[in-house]
Amino acid sequence: MDFELMINSFPKLLNATFITLKLLSASLFFGLFIGLLFAVLRLNKNPIINKFAYGYSYVFRGTPLLVQIFIIYFGLGQIEYLRSTILWVILKEPYWCAIIAFALNTGAYTSEILRSAFQTIKPGFIEAGKSLGISNKIIFYKIQIPIAIRQSLPAYGNEIILMLKGTSLASTVTLMDLTGVAKYIISTTFKPIEVFIVAGSIYLFMTFLIHNLIKFLEKKYSY
């Protein structure tokens, strides 16, 4: 055991943790909107819209995240047309490519979580709202969404942890996140166990925090 290396690498890894957290929060933020949008589309009665939303979540859940990142980072740059548009400013940055891939990926999982949450809402709640003369829009925003969020909290907590682990793939597109820096230190010092212990503990600590945060929220919003 090389304790000196462990102590020396800790600040570097901690620095990289900020990039991991930035990637995580940005992709969760966009992913939540994508998930909500596709959950609503899934519940649409129009079969075409319905199938489209299902196809989206099927494709993104059925393929590895690594493929998705590679398609966006290496693949999209190949389309000449895209290079001439304003979108290229975003797509040439590995940072944004990673966020787009993560957001689309977590969006697919979130849409499934939210869909099942919407479906488990008792029809009585919506009927009660209707009989009180509340408009459909307000029923959706004030009744369905809060209940769905509460219902989906445990599953969404798991999704956040999966996404935290998913951000490690950013290191494959040259980003120096926690895993990226860990790999760099391992490949320069050839001390994999020490670095694994430090980086792994940081990840475990974050998982622990997320786990407890979700537990706290579940308690707060239980009814």
């Binding site: 099927y58 494709v59 059925g62 393929t63 590895p64 995240l65 690594l66 493929v67 998705q68 590679f70 398609i71 290496f74 693949g75 999209l76 740059g77 190949q78 389309i79 942890i161 935290l164 682990k165 998913g166 951000t167 490690s168 793939l169 290191s171 494959t172 895993t179 860990a182 790999k183 391992i186 490949s187 050839f190 994999p192 166990i193 694994f196 980086a199 792994g200 990840y203 475990l204 998982t207 622990f208």
Partner: protein, 230 residues
């Protein structure tokens, strides 16, 4: 389409072999995972506090740390660890472990953590009366496990194990960083030499989709088989 031709002109045969490699790694990893689950599920269910902690820390650590980090640990640390063990027995030559074994072990340990959780959940949801009844009937412990617990457990575990299979299958894409030529690595090579990454990575995505689709079909059949009588 000529990019996918078989033979020297296209990448069809290479990708086919790579797909078989992905399947081989996934199955090996899944089996290694079962082996780990076989060891750690009893530990998690044991009444001994110490064994309990050992079992719990395995599943918590592996499920809380990114797969890629575990793979790097095995990739960089694997041959070192084996050489250390070999040096105890007096063998001091350099040993290189091939990428298939390192990769399957790394993914296997990850898959094992998920399988352990599935088995634990399945055993815990078997009615207590079943254990008591078999005890009353004087059935021996190991026969009780094979004839009473296992069949019921499998029925409950198969739907969740199909999720573990999907996770394992997708995780094998990460082994490409160690240089094992599976779907992802082969696409990377093909994309590099033809300068057509969009096509090859999309094709890789299609291959993975086909794999998940057909394996789900197969598992659904198993599910029907084991839930006969319910």
């Amino acid at each position: 389409m000529e990019l996918l031709a078989f033979g020297k002109t296209g990448w069809g045969d290479e990708l086919l072999i790579a797909t078989l490699m992905t399947i081989a790694v996934s199955i090996t990893a899944m089996l290694i995972g079962f082996l780990f689950a076989l060891i750690f599920t009893p530990l998690k269910l044991s009444k001994n506090k110490f064994l309990n902690i050992v079992g719990n820390s395995y599943t918590t650590v592996i499920r809380g740390v990114p797969e890629l980090l575990v793979i790097y640990l095995f990739f960089f640390g694997g041959s070192g660890a084996v050489m250390y063990v070999a040096s105890i027995f007096g063998y001091n030559e350099y040993i290189e472990i091939n990428a298939f074994i390192t990769g399957s072990c790394a993914i296997g340990i990850i898959s094992g953590a998920y399988s352990t959780e599935v088995f634990r959940g399945a055993i815990q949801s078997i009615d207590k009366g079943q254990f008591e009844a078999s005890k009353v009937l004087g059935i021996k412990k190991n026969i009780q496990f094979y004839k009473v617990v296992l069949p019921q457990m499998l029925r409950l575990a198969i739907p969740n194990l199909s999720n573990v299979w999907q996770i394992t299958l997708k995780d094998t894409s990460l082994i490409s960083v160690t240089g094992l030529v599976e779907i992802m690595r082969q696409s990377y090579i093909a994309a590099g030499s033809t300068r057509d990454p969009l096509f090859f990575y999309s094709f890789a995505a299609v291959l993975y989709l086909l794999l998940t689709y057909f394996s789900m079909k197969l598992i659904n059949r198993l599910e029907v088989k084991y839930s006969r009588g319910y």
